[in-house]
């Protein structure tokens, strides 16, 4: 890595959704979905050449609408899902679909070579529709690689689809209704990679709930996990029971799901809503958070990590602290590359700019 300068990639439209392509082996791939009310939306497939520090991109058209959420399949490189809103004059609803990246696509063209406006279309695999019409906030893929089941988080229920059916429309296998009073709309959720992938956790307003997929019932609740809305959560990829959440009360909290009364640790570096939080897959002491206080913070939480203390020589700060801060306008989404552990951080500056940093994320200004 001769050049440590961050690589910046500009998007045409504002964007809110970003994910690392999970199924890919060696290369660093990200998917970005744009948000535009008026123009045709796009999905950017970004290939980052780590050694030459070059970004290759492929742009696909996403005709259905603004993309609010994007997630890629764990086992099949070509599959991913989006949650998008179709906006008409009078209504706007969130729908979900599974897409396939066309196989016979052109080799990714280098950034800048952006002359052709005719981008290829994505292949629509199927729509994911709940039985009762409801906004689908996000789609979760089974983390162990079982490609048949996906989960959709609707406003007040969790829906399971089986993709492995002959018919074009996937069948709703089952669904869980979120019971309770008042506002329980889900904001986001994660599939727990441990316990044979039998658990998911969802963020509902100020609380976090854990669900057992075998019994289809709630197994734990962290009531008032945050003072205000919980924005995002993530499981420690290497240490079961460990969970991190972030929310509008500007805090990032670490939890043990066996003991939900008290957080294990609270970080309060941010001064506005914390939009997203992600563990690094390999070095789980590294936690990346983004906030609308215009900062992305890379935290090193060695005390709650699966790695033994002091093991990481390269960045051994000894204790938990925030390693890097980076000033953004309003970063909405962060993601780690899933391949090279430490090497690459990708972050969506909640707008038209995607920044690829080598641990030191940075971005160009665009406020969205």
């Amino acid at each position: 890595m001769e050049d440590d300068a961050p690589v910046i990639y500009g998007l045409e439209f504002q964007a809110r959704s970003l994910c690392a392509q999970e199924a890919e082996g060696d290369s660093i791939h990200f998917l970005v979905g744009t948000q535009s009310l008026r123009a045709e939306n796009q999905v950017h497939f970004i290939d980052f050449d780590d050694e030459n520090n070059i970004i290759n991109k492929t742009i696909f058209l996403h005709q259905e609408g603004e993309i609010w959420n994007i997630s890629s399949s764990v086992s099949d490189v070509s599959l991913f899902s989006t949650c998008f809103s179709k906006t008409t004059e009078t209504e706007s609803e969130l729908k979900a679909a599974v897409w396939q990246i066309p196989d016979n696509r052109d080799p990714p063209s280098p950034v800048g070579d952006d002359g052709s406006s005719s981008h290829p279309h994505l292949i629509l695999k199927c729509y994911l529709e709940p039985e009762v019409r409801s906004d689908v906030k996000s789609v979760l893929w089974q983390p162990s690689g079982d490609n048949h089941t996906v989960i959709g988080l609707c406003e007040d229920k969790i829906v399971f689809w089986d993709l492995n059916t002959a018919s074009s429309a996937p069948k709703v296998v089952s669904s869980i209704n979120v019971e309770g009073k008042g506002q329980h709309k889900m904001t986001s959720g994660r599939w727990n990679p441990h316990h044979n992938c039998n658990q998911i956790a969802t963020a509902n307003d100020t609380s976090v709930r854990g669900w057992d997929l075998r019994t289809m019932s709630q197994v734990y609740t962290i009531e008032s996990a945050h003072g205000q809305l919980v924005r995002d959560l993530d499981f420690n990829p290497n240490k079961q029971y460990y969970l991190v959440t972030c929310g509008d009360d500007c805090r990032v909290k670490f939890w043990d799901t066996r003991k939900v009364t008290e957080p294990l640790k609270v970080l309060s570096e941010h001064s506005h809503w914390v939009w997203s939080v992600r563990y690094n897959t390999f070095h789980d002491q590294l936690v990346l958070t983004s906030s609308s206080d215009s900062r992305v913070i890379l935290n090193s939480v060695v005390s709650l990590s699966s790695e033994p203390y002091g093991h990481l020589v390269e960045k051994d700060d000894g204790d938990d602290d925030s390693l890097h801060e980076s000033s953004q306008e309003s970063p909405k989404m962060v993601s780690w590359s899933l391949t090279r552990s430490m090497k690459t951080v990708s972050m969506l500056s909640a707008g038209q700019v995607l920044t690829l940093g080598h641990l030191l994320p940075s971005a160009m200004m665009d406020d969205w």
């Binding site: 045409e12 504002q14 009310l37 008026r38 123009a39 809103s85 906006t87 008409t88 004059e89 009078t90 209504e91 706007s92 008032s224 945050h226 003072g227 205000q228 809305l229 509008d248 009360d249 500007c250 805090r251 609270v266 309060s268 001064s271 506005h272 809503w273 609308s292 206080d293 215009s294 309003s330 707008g351 038209q352 200004m365 665009d366 406020d367 969205w368």
Partner: protein
Amino acid sequence: NGTGDERRHRRDLKLYYGMDNGETEATSHIVPQSSDPCNLDGANFQSQLYLSKLIQERSLTELMDEEQKMVRDIKGLDSDMQTLVYENYNKFISATDTIRKMKNDFRKMEDEMDHLASNMSAITDFSTSISSTLQDRRQQITKLAGVHSLLKKLQFLFELPARLNKCIEMEAYVQAVRYYTKAQRVLHQYEHMPSFQGIHTDCEIMIKHLRGRLMDRFRQKESTAKQLTECVDLLLQLGEPAESLCDEFLSHARHKLDEDLGELQRQMKLYSGELSPSEEQRPSQAYMNPGMDVLEFVDSGCNGFLSNMCLVIASYNDMFMNRPQADESLDTVALRKLVVFVNDLMEQYFSSVRQRVQLEKETGDNTILVRALDRFHRRLQAMNKLLPDTDFSRAGTEIVSKGAKDRVVHYLKSLKQHFADCLTDIRQSLAAPRIAGKQDHGTRLADLLANMQSSVVEQFKSVLGNLQAFIAPDITFAMKPYFRGPFCSQDVREGLVVAFVKHVCTVCNDFCEVPGDKTTSPPALLLILSRFCIDLENAAISYLLSLAEEQFMVEDRTSVTAATDLFAMAKDTGQRLLNHYVRVQGLTISQMLRKSVETRDWLNTIEPRNVRAVMKRVVEDITAIDMQVGQLYEEGVRRERSSDSSRRTHALSTSQQNRRPQWNYAPSIDNSLMSNIQKLFSEKIEIFSAVEFSKVSVLTGIVKISLKTFLECVRLRTFGKYGLQQIQVDTHYLQLYLWRFVSDENLVQVLLDEIVCSAVHRCVDPVMMEPSVIDLICERG
């Protein structure tokens, strides 16, 4: 001339008898006269010279007279000579007579002497014959006298057991011991003879008995010291080993002292309530007697235990030490025993006093405690004199210091408690009359703060006043530097003042740490506390420190916390509290805004006719916050821009006009490009900058956070035409009312512009409302 004659005669006589000496001086004196050749009486008289001189010097008549006088002198001399010769002759005759008479007397005396010699020899003969006859008798008499005394001694021996018995019966132990010691050696010597052996054993039995009696008396509790001394004296004479006696005595004394200690322990337990008095007393008495207070306790300790201890030491000294006949080693052994004994007991005593002093937890006046400690200290010093090698005053001072330290800790605790009570009071009065109206509510914040400050300071003063009892001039230990130095600087200044300030800071900091989740503290409390911290920094800390330093004359300032550190700490805490206040208030308003944006269907809303109620509510709340903060913080610096509203509205309208063309652009790259370019040139807004200690700055912070939330929420929604217009109305309304709260109205402007801009971006059919209509709606609302 008569005298001259006499002298001449005498000289002649002297010359005659060869008696020169003694008169040599006189003669030598006369020499100058006599050397004059013209002196008639001189030895060197020369008649020719004299004559010629006379003839030359004198007249005729004078010569005649001289001649006559000369003749007269000669005649006188002649008659003198005659008388002298006659006298001498007479004397000579009488001397001859005397010698003749003596010759006769001596012849008679010789005869008598012969007679005496013959008599003497006769007497000598007689005397030798008598003494030879008496020789035998005398030896017999001497022998008899010896036998007599021996018999007397034997009689004494035979009578000894009876005598001893009698003495013992009469309790004349001294006598008995004297008898025994007299006889002991003899008895010991003739032990082998059966009769003596009998006596000896009898005596032994008696003495054993006596010893037993003495021991009994020695062990008796009620024996007086004098009796004890006597006993020990006698027992020592009887050859009892001194060491065991020491032990015996000490264990005997220990018994008594243990009783005293036990009583002290009991009193302590009574006081602490561990032991209910009813166990030994009737309930009514028990009610009356809840254990002694500390002064009584120390008194009883001094009078009971310590006095007895002194007594024991004194009598022990009398008995076992400095005895004339005892040897050095006994002294050292005895002293060692005593020291061990005393140290052991004193240790127990100290521990019970220490425990008792620790029990003294009540607040309020501690003069009693101080007096008690003082008495204790003095008494110990007195004891030191008694037993030179040991130093109890150190242990005593430690107890006193510990007591003082405990008091300081206790007072610190009570101060903390008081502070916590103050906080609770404030919480309650904040919670109670919410309905009473916001106007009223605002004025009361300042009162609450003032109340808390004065009450804390008052409490502090009273505590310091109470603690001053420890260094009152009439207290002996207060004057000792080894007490006073650490007490004033370490205990009072550090342990009380500094620790209290630190505690306040910690408590306040705790309010900032992860609250808002479970136990929400009212924002007004945060505000009051932050002001309290600032006041601490500005005045109170230095006041309290100087108060303490003055009252306690703290001199050693080397090892103490610097005031500047405390200032920094207080300021830091105040800052954190204020930041937290801004955050809490900002989040409250944010929450309101967020809910209002999220719950509305912006696509299908009707044409705006009113400002939404939530906006009014936001303005109301911010006004209330403004009142709140205004009570405690100064206005602060506003950026000079435009204070008159006419200019402001003008600025607003122009800025809107400036923006207008931009909105008409097709929303695409150009749009965002434009806004980006615009942003590059406009001032960058620091939304989450640190808050200053002024009303304007606090309000600015809250407004910024609220508007930022509004912006973020708007970006998550999709708007219809009227939805966008409603946002326009709302933001204009906010613009109208919020500018006055913030330091830089441009900031509100920029944020609100951005909100509208975002709404335009998220709008499916962006058609703006006429500014005049907006104005109208806002004025009506």
